[in-house]
Amino acid sequence: MIELSVKKRLLSAEGSLELMLETTIEEGEFIAFFGQSGAGKTTILRMIAGLETPDSGHIIVNGTPWFDSQKRINLPPAKRPIGFVFQDYALFPNMSVKENLRFALQKGDNPAIVEELIEVIGLRELADRLPAQLSGGQQQRVAMARALVRRPRLLLLDEPLSALDHAMRHKLQDELAKIHQRFGLTTILVSHDPSEIFRLCGRLYHLEQGCIKKAGTPSEIFVKEKISSSFKFVGEVLAIEQCEMIYLLTVAIGTQVVKVMATEREREGLTIGSPIQIVSKAFHPIISPITHDDREQ
């Protein structure tokens, strides 16, 4: 469990900002800090990691104070057992994939975990390559694996997928979800992408001007309207085509891509990448069993 109660004055281009945060995060949760850039999301992550020092307050992780301004405790970053994935991945350019992971080993660690993680991220063939020879998605996987070498109990992800294209982002979101399930790590994600948060997180904090504006589950925060219906999906608009006076939206829902009809009014304000909610009455769907052959496709 992480108890966070911190204050920090931030100086930004728009002037100064008082970051104030008080919350607890339970063991094994996958939570997100969401908000515009400059809202203080990344700073919170960096304060938990010890890369930045709060002006006052405390950060207590499983009963151990990592920071306490009154008791003058401030554990250096190297002493905090955290996996941190940076927005730019921060892979060491002089080390191969394998060396990047090995570097994360501590004295006395069993090096077998490096091999295991290379297997998990599916980069066995590329293990001897340098980071510069990898694609963005592959680099992201290496950064992820490197963060897991120390077997941290806490994983911090700073906009980890923002540099990737849409398809790769979706793929890696699934992998992140799997990693979270497999290792049961308490995970904190910083993101400004609602569909990413929807797919990954159980709970989120919406930050505005350094303060928590709202906290709750993704549907509580992002879906304003309560509709009584059984078919409700959250997706992301991939394409918008007009046919006469109606529109066809191509929407990614989970790993599926579907087409949905929209009227002019429904389409208003939607652009490629807009997160949307799709609701249908339970009476509509046509149901048929899936044969084995269908599943193969």
């Binding site: 309560k226 059984s230 006469e244 006076m245 109606i246 009455k281």
Partner: protein, 134 residues
């Protein structure tokens, strides 16, 4: 999405299925809903509620007589018609509200619909979706 504000006058349930009666002005609307009423706290008798239905689910009748299974009937005047090659978008004025129906161009032509016509919009009860009013 068409959207009308009404208030709930009755809820009749049978197992997982509920039929919700809504009064909209003087008109009586019904909506089918899955799940027991207590799963939907926003749907209780006496509450105001939004009734939503998709434009493509609205049928139009002119000079309508005889009986029909469709429970939701909204009478109004045609305010605007936009025709495409296959589709026609008919905008109706129902009281102070506006609802839109998208039907086939052929039906629109066959019925000789024109602005000012007095018509009835028909929607099946299972196409009506209820949304919390606030």
């Amino acid at each position: 999405m068409n959207r009308l504000k009404g208030h709930i006058t009755a809820i009749q349930s049978s197992g997982e299925l509920s039929l919700v009666d809504i009064a909209y002005n003087q008109i009586h609307l019904t909506a089918f809903m899955l799940g027991k009423p207590d799963e939907h706290p926003e749907v209780t008798v006496g509450q105001d509620i939004w009734v939503l239905f998709k434009e493509s689910e609205v049928a139009i009748a002119k000079d309508f007589s005889g009986s029909i299974s469709l429970r939701n009937r909204l009478e109004g005047y045609i305010e605007k018609i936009v025709v495409g090659d296959l589709l026609a978008e008919v905008t109706l004025k129902v009281g102070d509200d506006t609802i839109v129906s998208i039907i086939s161009r052929r039906a629109c032509d066959a019925m000789k619909l024109k602005v000012g016509d007095h018509v009835t919009a028909l929607i099946k009860a299972n196409e009506m979706t209820l949304m919390e009013y606030h």
